[in-house]
Structure formats: C-alpha cells, structure tokens
C-alpha cells in the first residue's frame, strides 16, 4: 500500500559525471518496498507540475552507511527535474509517493541472477543484489555505458556480485562495445537456462535484450521507463505495447506504472 509523504533529504552525494545518490527518510514506504519498485518524487514549490519516477536503489541493508528508515535513489541529471534534485542539500524536503509498481521477483531456485545494466539503468540493482546475496544467491552483473564515467556504483557491485563485467562504447573501461555483446559471450560459455536475466537501461538496449532472450528462450525481465504523470495507474500516460492486452486479445497497451515497471521480455510488442 503506497504512502504519500514529505521526506527529508539526509544526503545527496555527487558521484561525478552528473550522477547523484540521494538519500531520504521515509520509513513507512521503505518498510514495504521491493527492489525495482519506484517512487514518484516532487520538490515542493518547484516550477515542475508533475513528479518524476525513480527506482529505489538502496533499501535498509543495501549500503553499509545507509540510514535506518531511509532509501537511496541513484539518478542522472538529464533535465529540469533531475537538475533540481541535484541542487538539494540535506534538510530539504521531498514529496515522495511509493512504493509503486511491480518489482523484481527472485529467480527460481537453482537459477542464477544475471543483471544487465545500461548506464543509469543500474539504479534498481543494488537493493536487489543485496537482498539476493543475503539469501546466498549468486548474482552476476554485465554493466555497459558510453564511457567510464557513466558507471556509477561499479566498485560497490565489484564487492557484492560476481562476475562483474564491463563494456564501454569508447573502450575507456572494460570491453569496447555494447553490453549485449558481453551477454552473448557469457551465455556462449554457460547454459542460458541456468540464468534469470534482469535488464534495465535505454530502450534500444532493452529491445536488443528482449529479442535475444526470445531467440534463446531465456527467462528475462525488463525494468522499463516511460514518461509518467501519476505513477499509480490513472492517467494512462505511461503505456507500452504488449501482446495479448488489446481489446480483441491483440496488441494493446499496458501501464508501466502498474503492470510494470518490471515486465517479462516476451510480453513486449516492440
């Protein structure tokens, strides 16, 4: 059950290259939130009318220095709303609605979790990685970005996950190329059916992953993004085309905020 709270910012750390990790106190929300669920976050008095959606990145237990009753959000400055967030100091107040949407489900027993992250798409994975590791599950991360600076929290993942493989488009860190190449390579060596793939990143990457998963029949969940007005299912603004959801069982539209943000790759009619 979601709550709409005023949440005080406890810190807002500049991770460089326009990436920030903001922490705020919201015990009621945090108490019932699952990895890859999201918040709608607004800044009171700001000129933006609509709140902005952000995945939960850290929950209590995710980061060693996380405060009790607090959540962390990893974000990148891409426009007015994220620039405004970046200007906030500890003590500022946020309007936070959450938890919203459907989060990640743990892999079936015996399967290994494999995360595919594209740049800031890494945001929902820390809380999930920490939770799975606590249960003794194996978690791998394939992490792609344009350039080395766009790999926030990489060191954290290197401590928590294995394997952690990196690809950058400019070759400034890890392999030169796309993250999907890492995926193909890994699963050439290992049995795809031993994995449950979770992917989050820019749409072209997700489309490629979804196609690949369909082709190889790998269980694959995507954490999607869309422009949102409400975040809780009533504006119908955030839809993606999905198979079987249309008026006659054909392709229809489903809401990323309620039926997602996590959706099974094969459902998407991209």
């Amino acid at each position: 059950m979601p709550y709409d709270l005023e949440a005080p910012v406890t810190r807002n750390t500049d991770l460089g290259h326009g990436n920030f990790l903001i922490e705020f106190e919201a015990p009621e929300i945090v108490g019932c939130m699952k990895p890859a669920q999201f918040f709608m976050i607004g800044v009171p008095g700001s000129k933006l009318l609509l709140r902005r959606p952000f995945s939960v990145c850290g929950l209590p237990g995710t980061f060693d220095d996380g405060r009790p009753g607090s959540a962390q959000v990893l974000y990148k400055v891409v426009g007015e709303g994220t620039a405004l967030l970046a200007s906030l100091r500890a003590g500022a107040r946020l309007e936070v609605l959450g938890p919203l949407g459907r989060g990640f489900e743990a892999p079936e027993p015996g399967r290994r979790a494999l995360f595919l992250a594209g740049g800031i798409g890494v945001a929902p994975f820390p809380a999930f990685a920490a939770a799975l590791r606590r249960e003794g599950r194996e978690v791998g991360l394939l992490y792609g970005a344009r350039t080395a600076g766009d790999l926030p929290l990489l060191e954290w993942f290197e401590r928590v996950c294995a394997p952690v493989e990196v690809a950058t488009e400019d070759g400034s860190r890890g392999r030169r190329g796309l993250v999907t190449a890492l995926l193909e390579e890994l699963l050439r060596k290992e049995d795809p059916s031993a994995f449950h793939v979770y992917a989050c990143g820019p749409q072209p990457m997700l489309k490629a992953v979804a196609q690949w998963a369909r082709r190889h029949d790998v269980r694959c969940d995507l954490s999607l993004e869309a422009r949102m007005a409400c975040g809780f299912g009533v504006c119908l603004g955030c839809v993606v085309p999905t198979r079987g959801s249309g008026p006659e069982g054909d392709v229809g539209f489903e809401r990323v905020c309620v039926e997602g943000p996590v959706m099974r790759a094969e459902r998407l009619a991209w």
Binding site: L49, R227, V234, C235, L236
Partner: protein, 311 residues
C-alpha cells in the same frame, strides 16, 4: 459556527458537496482508495466510456509543459459493458455520486452507451464528452459544431433518464453558442472546460513529442482561460455549471464558483497529489467558516464585476 452547508443542486442532480473529480484523471475511482476516502467526495466522474473497449494511442501520450501537461491518450477505456459489470458494483458502494463520462465517434455510439447506462443502479448522471471527432462529419469534433452538438445532446437525452451533463470544449469557435445549443437540446447542466489543443516539439528530434502530434492542455496553465469561459457561459446560459481547469486547491475552486460554477471538478491535480480533491473540499469548508458563509450556494456567480470593467 455551525458547519457550512455544502450541498448543491445541478438541475435534477443533488450533490452533498460541490467537489467532483474530472474524467480521465481519476481512473474508475477505485484506484484512489489508498489515498483518500471516496465517501468524502461530492462525486466521481469516471474515465470516458465507449461502446467497446479501446486500446488508445501509442506512446508518447503525455508531456509536461509549463504549469500544465498535454495528453493524447486516445480514450483508452474498458468499454461500457466492463464498466457496468466490473467497476460500477465496487464504486457504487461508496457514498458519492458516480457520473459516467461518455463519448462516441458517431451519434449512434453516444446513444448506445447512454442507453446501456440508463438503468444502471448506483449511477447518478451521465456527462457527454463532445470533444471527440465525428467520423461521419469529416472528423470535426461534435463540440465544435453547434448543430451536431444539439443533435447528440437531444439523442442522448432521449436515450437516458439520468441527469445529463454536456461537457463543453474550449476549442469551439464560440463556447456560448455551444452552451446554448446544449441547453436548448435537453442538457440539465454543463461542465467546462475540456482540454485546449496544444503541441510540444522535441527540438532535438525535430518532431512533436506526442505520437499524435497534438494533445490536450490541462493544469494550472489554463486556469485563467477556463475561469473566464465559465463566467462568459454563466452570463449567457441559465443552466447550472460545473467548472474545471487547473484547480489545484480551494482558492482555485473558488475562482470558478464565484465565476458561476455550482460545482467543480479536480483533474490534473489528482496526478500530482492523489488526495488533492479532499484537500480542496476541506479548505473550501474552512474558507466558508472563516468568512461566515452559511452555504456554498451563496457564492455561485457572486463575483462583483468592477464598474470600470469591460462589459
């Protein structure tokens, strides 16, 4: 002071208070149960209903603009049958007036939906969304052509005994003419305004942001325009009005009430603050108490027009 009287009457439709929620911004009502007590609301106007379910437009469907948003949802909805069987039974359990918003691409579709809604237990009224292209008349919106508007109003009037609200489009060449056409054709009340046509351009990709090119502008940006249209229609037509357009708080609601609206609808604000409608109601009541006003009805159209003003 005693509690102020919040009851209002829109022709045959009696509401316990003047705060409704606007169609397309409140889902089928049930989605708001975590955020507010539906029993508090004067009424709930549900998402527009068509004879059959509709998939709506492909994304992008929405974009924020200064103090507003554009939407081109394409009237995605479950269809009138699913509404009656799946949504209304749960919704009518609440002590609030349930109002069905209806649209069609032909006159026959409007009539079909109205007829199906007619006997439905727990339905308080029908609101016609006439900002919909008339496919039989070259796609011109019903609301922009007073004769088509009169025809659709009359046909729906015959199809249902429920109180009939006609929702005016601000894009009509002359909204007062549209108001008169609806009034003369059997409408019990008018609601206004629907969204204004607008466009946002993605200048990096050099194309409209929305897949449909244009969308409907809602939110605080349009409030001064909507308040003015409310006052104009109030002076032109003797029907009770339901005002809306950018109402975020009680102060905004009072602008519409003073300009002639007997009731108001909260729209885009529901997205921003899910309990916005109840806050409007609370603060409206507080205003009445503070000013010692016994009934909200005293304020309807009570705007003092300045002497120096244009007529």
């Amino acid at each position: 002071m005693v509690k102020p009287d919040l009851r209002v009457k829109l022709g045959p439709l009696e509401l316990k208070n003047p705060v409704l929620t606007a169609s397309g911004t409140f889902g089928y009502g049930l989605e708001f149960r975590p955020y507010l007590d539906l029993n508090r609301l004067g009424g709930v106007v549900v998402k527009g209903l068509s004879p059959r379910p509709r998939a709506g437009h492909p994304p992008e469907r929405i974009v924020e603009t200064p103090a507003g948003m554009l939407n081109a949802i394409g009237l995605q909805n479950v269809g009138v049958d699913a509404f009656l069987s799946e949504k209304l039974p749960a919704l009518r359990a609440y002590d609030t007036a349930v109002i069905a918003n209806v649209f069609g691409e032909t006159l026959a579709q409007y009539v079909e939906v109205c007829a199906k809604l007619d006997g439905a237990p727990g339905l308080a009224a029908v609101e016609l969304n006439v900002s919909c292209p008339n496919t039989e008349a070259g796609g011109m919106e019903f609301g922009n052509d007073p004769r088509a508007l009169a025809r659709v109003t009359r046909a729906c009037r015959e199809a249902t005994a429920l109180p009939l609200i006609v929702k005016l489009s601000p894009n009509a060449p002359d909204i007062c003419e549209a108001a008169r056409a609806a009034a003369d054709s059997g409408a019990d009340a008018l609601s206004l305004v629907n969204t204004f046509v607008g466009m946002a351009v993605d200048v990096e990709r050099r194309r409209p942001v929305l897949s449909r090119g244009t969308g409907g502008l809602s939110g605080p940006a349009i409030r001064p325009l909507a308040v003015w249209l409310t006052w104009r229609v109030h002076r032109a037509v003797p029907l009770p009005l339901i005002g809306m357009g950018g109402i975020m708080g009680a102060r905004d609601a009072l602008e519409f009430i003073l300009a002639g609206a007997t009731a108001i609808q909260v729209g885009t604000a529901n997205f921003v603050k899910p309990d916005a409608a109840v806050r409007v109601l609370q603060d409206l009541e507080a205003y009445l108490v503070r000013h010692g006003i016994a009934s909200v009805r005293e304020l309807v159209g009570a705007l003092e027009w300045p002497d120096e003003a244009a007529p």
